[in-house]
Symmetry: C2
Subunit: 229 residues, 2 copies
Amino acid sequence: MKLHVSPDTFPPRGHEAKRISIVDAAAGVFCREGFAGANIDLIAAEAGVSRQTVYNHHGDKEKLFVAVVRDLTERCNTGIFATIATFPDQPKDLEADLIGFAVRLNQNCICNRDGKFLRKLIQTEGERYPELFAEWREQGPGRTWPAIAARFARLAYGGYLAIEDPDVAARQFLGLVNAELQTTFMLGGTPREDEVLQSATNGVRTFLRAFGKRRSATSVEKQAALASA
Amino acid sequence: MKLHVSPDTFPPRGHEAKRISIVDAAAGVFCREGFAGANIDLIAAEAGVSRQTVYNHHGDKEKLFVAVVRDLTERCNTGIFATIATFPDQPKDLEADLIGFAVRLNQNCICNRDGKFLRKLIQTEGERYPELFAEWREQGPGRTWPAIAARFARLAYGGYLAIEDPDVAARQFLGLVNAELQTTFMLGGTPREDEVLQSATNGVRTFLRAFGKRRSATSVEKQAALASA
DNA sequence: GACGAATTAGACAAGAGTGTCTAAATTTAT
DNA sequence: ATAAATTTAGACACTCTTGTCTAATTCGTC
């Protein structure tokens, strides 16, 4: 009968810590080298662990890969939902608030370590593991897109936007907001902070020209004028 | 003194044919398996050639890879410029013409074999060969983006669009038009024809809501009305 | 300090892949 | 038909990697 002091994990503390550092290191190596090029010895070294420990924890290379993808998907989802929670429901300044949201989404979910890694793995190994990435598609985009669309729908319902199809609007919003980062994303790079802001600003302005209730593009000035009235 | 009957290639005819079939097969294998996972024996088999012939033509695996990327970049550029030549300069029906252009760009440059392969190679190996893909960036996006932007600038100058920055507008146009294909592209898939059309239609409508000279979204009806007047 | 579990280093077999070499067969043009 | 060039099949050495095994060591806990 074993009653541990710490109730959250039954294997000893160092055990789980190693498991995480292995998955972390593996994510990095799989991304850099691809599945075929990834070397278990290198993963072990980067995790600060012996090769045998990698096998003890994860069985073999393929199981380790699956663990990496599941881990990244989960962490990215958490980040995205946390960011969606900051979506402006009752915006003071619609343009500024949407730009802020877009920048947060980029910085916290798309350009950060996890987002970059997951994207790369999907691109490089997506075709080789159809089932695994079908699972990702359900758990990831399948859950996050509707959540984002719902926020745009609410904004439309509140009279802030004139959109017909919230799903289309949500996808177009992200397409616009990332329009100037595509080449960088393609090459696996991380855009600078000012590039992200620039792309988001231009994207949101165009989005509001298309869907904003007020006709003019410079809604900021308009709203400032309204506020002072 | 050798005067050949066919003036275009000095090595015998079958020679060049084999070189091409090797590069073609290599493109497919590199894309499916990644650089590390690609197997020279397999490439030779798919090219219908012995392994030694691959080495005779291209030296080693890395040189073969470079040849593949250069080939794809060149062929894709050709396709893109050919499609840019069909850009509507004096549109009869702006919405329909832009949708047509977007669909052609997708079908002939982005979703075809070469486009799909090049994109995949850039995504998977871009970080490992910085110089090679810097070259791609110059020869590819570096030449095609300005050409597309110039077409939008002309359209604005002709009074068909109200855009401030043609470069931004060009990138946003493509972002919008491909907004609904992103997940498919990520996984290396090829969208169906109707999906391409749908995404293009939605994208162009939003684009014209933002940048069209006439306020309403249904510019088709408006123009019909004008024509009948 | 002592116990048990986890980790480590290192050796190991088995397999796969690259790039070279050679001698035979085939193609191409004269 | 013949000569030159190219292609082919197969063997080869070499390297690298995976996954297993074992014996020694370290770690966490009582």
